[in-house]
């Protein structure tokens, strides 16, 4: 009998023109826009300079800042105080103060003390900005006699030679789209049937809990399959970014995530009485799962207690595994642990979804 229930779910999705549009437009919109938005790259840092030395040497330093691609030169100011005012007015991000006697110190082989004051409200921006700037300053100190060690350090960037931020973003987007489509739509599903009263009619039929829930899950798997395909094709077509590892693994991982989220959505739907409740509760969990998963921030930097939460966060396993496969080209053995964890979560959630659906109270 399950085919009739599945057919019904599809018909309902098809009749709801808004949901159809959402399923098609949302992944496309996300893939076209978000990689440009979700760019943590620090660039165009505005630098103001207070040059108390006013020598050719100090002007050379100012010049080299202007030429650096990370920085936008925002002019010189007579005093540190005046420059700070500029920061307060948000017209500049970093102030570089060149001390008096800068050129004399250099010629004498002494170390002039250069001050960098960065607006660190956004810590990442302030930190990265000032460290770039200090590299420039250091390089300028001894342009001829560069230290031997420094010049001998080379860096080999694996998997992402050009440090393209979009490579990092696309697996994260996959996870977000999956969660929005396969999490929120099911969360609304059973509540809507409760509000319409149709659930009562279904409850007096002999339909088994398993087939009812399964019939609700299967359409979201198929939607998930469609969405992953759209995302992968767009990533290739627009950004030229392709999967380094096996595509089958990526599909396997996303299907498991879809199973987890759609079951999770149905569970919330089972326990909620109104649409608003379902949405708010879903939103709450989703935000926590995402923030603590390492989608945007490195999980390794977390303090121990919050790192511990990643062990029960399926999103963490997913993003870890999908990055390994998609970016690093890892094989099955390198993600076996994550796959088995995801299978575990999905099964538990699936069973819970069935159990929490009550036909008889």
């Amino acid at each position: 009998m399950i085919q009739y229930l599945i057919q019904k779910e599809f018909l309902q999705i098809r009749r709801n023109s808004f949901i159809i549009k959402l399923i098609i437009a949302f992944p496309i919109m996300v893939m076209c826009v978000m990689p440009w938005v979700m760019n943590q790259e620090v660039k165009d840092i505005r630098v103001s300079v207070v040059d108390n030395d006013r020598s050719t040497v100090s002007q050379r330093l100012v010049h080299s800042i202007g030429q650096n691609s990370h920085f936008v030169f925002c002019g010189q100011h007579p005093s540190y105080y005046a420059a700070l005012k500029e920061i307060e007015k948000s017209r500049t991000d970093i102030v570089l103060v060149i001390p008096q006697g800068y050129s004399r110190d250099i010629t004498l082989g002494r170390k002039p003390q250069v001050l960098i004051a960065a607006n660190a409200v956004n810590g990442t921006k302030g930190g990265i900005g000032s460290s770039y700037l200090s590299q420039i300053v250091t390089a300028n100190l001894a342009p001829d006699a560069s230290t031997p060690l420094h010049s001998n350090i080379s860096t080999h960037y694996l998997y992402n030679k050009h440090l393209n931020y979009k490579v990092f973003t696309i697996p994260a987007l996959l996870a977000i789209v999956m969660m929005m489509m396969c999490g929120f739509l099911p969360a609304l599903n059973i509540v809507s049937e409760k509000e319409a009263g149709t659930i009562e009619q279904i409850n007096v039929t002999p339909v088994s809990k398993w087939s009812f829930i399964l019939a609700k899950l299967i359409p979201y798997w198929i939607i998930a399959l469609f969405i992953v395909t759209v995302c992968l094709v767009l990533a290739w077509a627009i950004y030229g970014i392709t999967c380094q590892g096996s595509l089958w693994l990526v599909y396997l991982l996303t299907m498991l995530l879809a199973l987890f989220f759609s079951s999770f959505g149905l569970i919330i739907s089972n326990y909620s009485n109104t649409l608003q409740q379902a949405i708010f509760v879903m939103w709450f969990f989703v935000v926590c799962l995402i923030l603590l998963s390492g989608l945007f921030t490195p999980t390794r930097s977390m303090p121990e207690w919050s790192y511990a939460t990643t062990y029960i966060n399926p999103m963490h396993y997913f993003i870890d595994a999908v990055r390994t496969v998609f970016i690093r080209g890892g094989g099955f053995s390198s993600v076996a642990r994550q796959v088995s964890a995801l299978i575990g979560f999905s099964v538990v959630m699936g069973v819970w979804a069935v159990v929490s659906y009550k036909k008889n109270t």
Binding site: Y4, L5, Q7, L11, Q12, T198, T205, V207
Partner: protein, 487 residues
């Protein structure tokens, strides 16, 4: 004296659908005026135009001397309105709802108490219960109290008594008469004939056209084919074998201290049409939910189709059909898709479903609507369809919870023909209703009062036993003995 309401050549349409076409009438001050007609006749649109909620396309209307388009504020200050699909704030208590609406209309519960006493006194003891926890009929009573708590000069009631039991309906109309004595003009729409007869004049609307305005009797006579269809001859079911398909002993359902169903015992024979009657909140729906396996009983035993209602409810569900109070086909599926879904759930084969769907639609003369969305059908059709779907898999018993609420007499008659068809095929019918003429159609009926069954027998037996002329009087006689009014 100036008329309270003047309607001149009003027309209104929604896209291609004409709701009202050149309608004119007037209502005198202090008159009780009825607006009757089948579903989709344009009654609700007329109410909304008079309440300034809609603008007519053509024509003008005045209420209390004010123009509905230009003098909206004056009218809104003077009228009371209870829309057809009025729902209360489910998360507020009974008293909070009432107080809110009283303040809204610039009065207090104490000041308006007299005008709602007859109805509100029945639910007053549950004043701190959430409105969402009341039974269907009780909600309707609360909604009425909210609408009547102030004294407007004109009162608009759009089918105020859908789902309300006969006794309470009588009390409501007694109350409306006292309002009339205070000079309040009342315009009401209703599908109940006894209520129509209590109006001074009625206007009959049909598909947006005004077919006639006159005294109730004249209108009901002139359009007897619609309002007073001949009764149905019920060829006595031959197959009412001595086999019980429902047996219930000492059934109890308690919510906390409250016993919604309080120790009831009865049995239903195969092939019978069993009427399950009772006032609002007497416990009918609760009992039905237990029999259909939606709820567990708190005490007592029972079998349906030979299976235990406590443990074998999934077995029961395979063998019964159910049509709930809330209309519950999928509105976003077509007629054929709904049939296919439910038939499929009961394990019928695809080919058989297709064949029997065509048969069914032909019998209902509904073939051309096979691929219409259910949401686009009129209410009467939806209900006939819901019933046909609930017996499509040929169940042993079908449970019908107020299947004909808010439907005009002609459609109700067609509905009962379908019930007789089903009974003739050997399907036991278990039905609740608030229409006492329908009670007469049943083979046997039980009347529930305060969670207990206070009478059980054939309609003839009950009339003789309580020495009453018809079922309506039997019901009133029994229900007036109720001490509690709740679910």
């Amino acid at each position: 004296m100036m008329n309270a309401i003047e309607v001149h050549n009003i027309s209104k349409s929604y896209g291609k659908v004409t709701a009202l076409d050149d309608v004119s009438f007037s209502v005198g001050r202090g008159e009780v005026f009825g607006l009757i007609g089948p579903d989709g006749a344009g009654k609700s649109s007329m109410f909304r135009i008079l309440c300034t909620l809609l603008e007519p396309e053509r024509g003008t209307a005045t209420v209390d001397g004010y123009d509905t388009v230009r003098q909206m504020k004056e009218i809104r200050r003077r009228v009371g309105y209870m829309p057809g699909r009025f729902s209360l704030y489910q998360d507020l208590t009974v008293l909070e709802n009432l107080e809110f609406f009283a303040t809204l209309f610039g009065t207090t519960v104490a000041a308006g108490y007299d005008s709602i006493k007859a109805i509100y006194s029945q639910i007053e003891r549950f004043h701190d219960r959430k409105a969402g926890a009341l039974s269907g009929g009780m909600k309707q009573k609360l909604a009425l109290s909210c609408a009547l708590v102030h004294s407007p000069s004109v009162l608009f009631l759009d089918e105020p008594t859908t789902g309300v039991d006969p006794v309470s309906r009588k009390e409501l109309w007694d109350m409306l008469e006292t309002l009339k004595e205070r000079g309040i003009t009342i315009v009401a729409a209703t599908p109940y004939l006894d209520e129509v007869r209590r109006c001074e004049r009625v206007a009959f609307l049909d598909h947006g056209h005004l077919r006639g305005i006159d005294t109730p009797d004249t209108i009901l006579d002139r359009f007897a084919d619609i309002f007073n269809p001949p009764g149905i001859e019920h060829g006595k079911t031959t197959g009412a074998a001595d086999e019980n398909v429902i047996e219930v002993q000492h059934l109890v359902k308690a919510f906390g201290d409250f016993r919604a169903v309080d120790d009831i015992s009865f049995s239903v024979k195969r092939g019978e049409i069993f009427g399950f009657l009772g006032a609002n909140g007497a416990g009918k729906t609760t009992a039905m939910h237990i029999l259909t396996g939606l709820n567990q009983p708190s005490g007592g035993t029972g079998t349906v189709m030979g299976y235990d209602i406590r443990t074998q409810y999934e077995q029961i569900k395979k063998r019964i059909g159910y049509m709930s109070q809330k209309f519950s086909l999928y509105e976003d599926l077509t007629v054929a898709e709904n049939i296919r879904l439910y038939a499929g759930i009961y394990g019928m084969k695809g080919k058989e479903i297709a064949r029997r769907t065509d048969e069914l639609l032909q019998r209902l003369q509904f073939s051309e609507h096979k691929h219409d969305l259910v949401s686009s059908l009129p209410l009467g059709w939806k209900q006939k369809l819901a019933f046909s779907v609930s017996i499509f898999h040929e169940p042993g018993i079908v449970f019908l919870d107020e299947p004909t609420g808010g439907v005009d007499p002609a459609t109700r008659r067609q509905f009962w023909e379908l019930i007789y068809d089903a009974a003739a095929r050997g399907i036991t019918v278990f039905v609740t209703t608030h229409y006492m003429d329908e009670a007469e159609y049943c083979d046997r009926i039980s009347i529930m009062v305060d969670g207990k069954i206070s009478a059980l027998g054939t309609p003839g037996e009950l009339k003789r036993r309580f020495r009453q002329p018809d079922m309506d009087h039997v019901f009133t006689h029994l229900a007036r003995q109720a001490t509690r009014n709740s679910d």
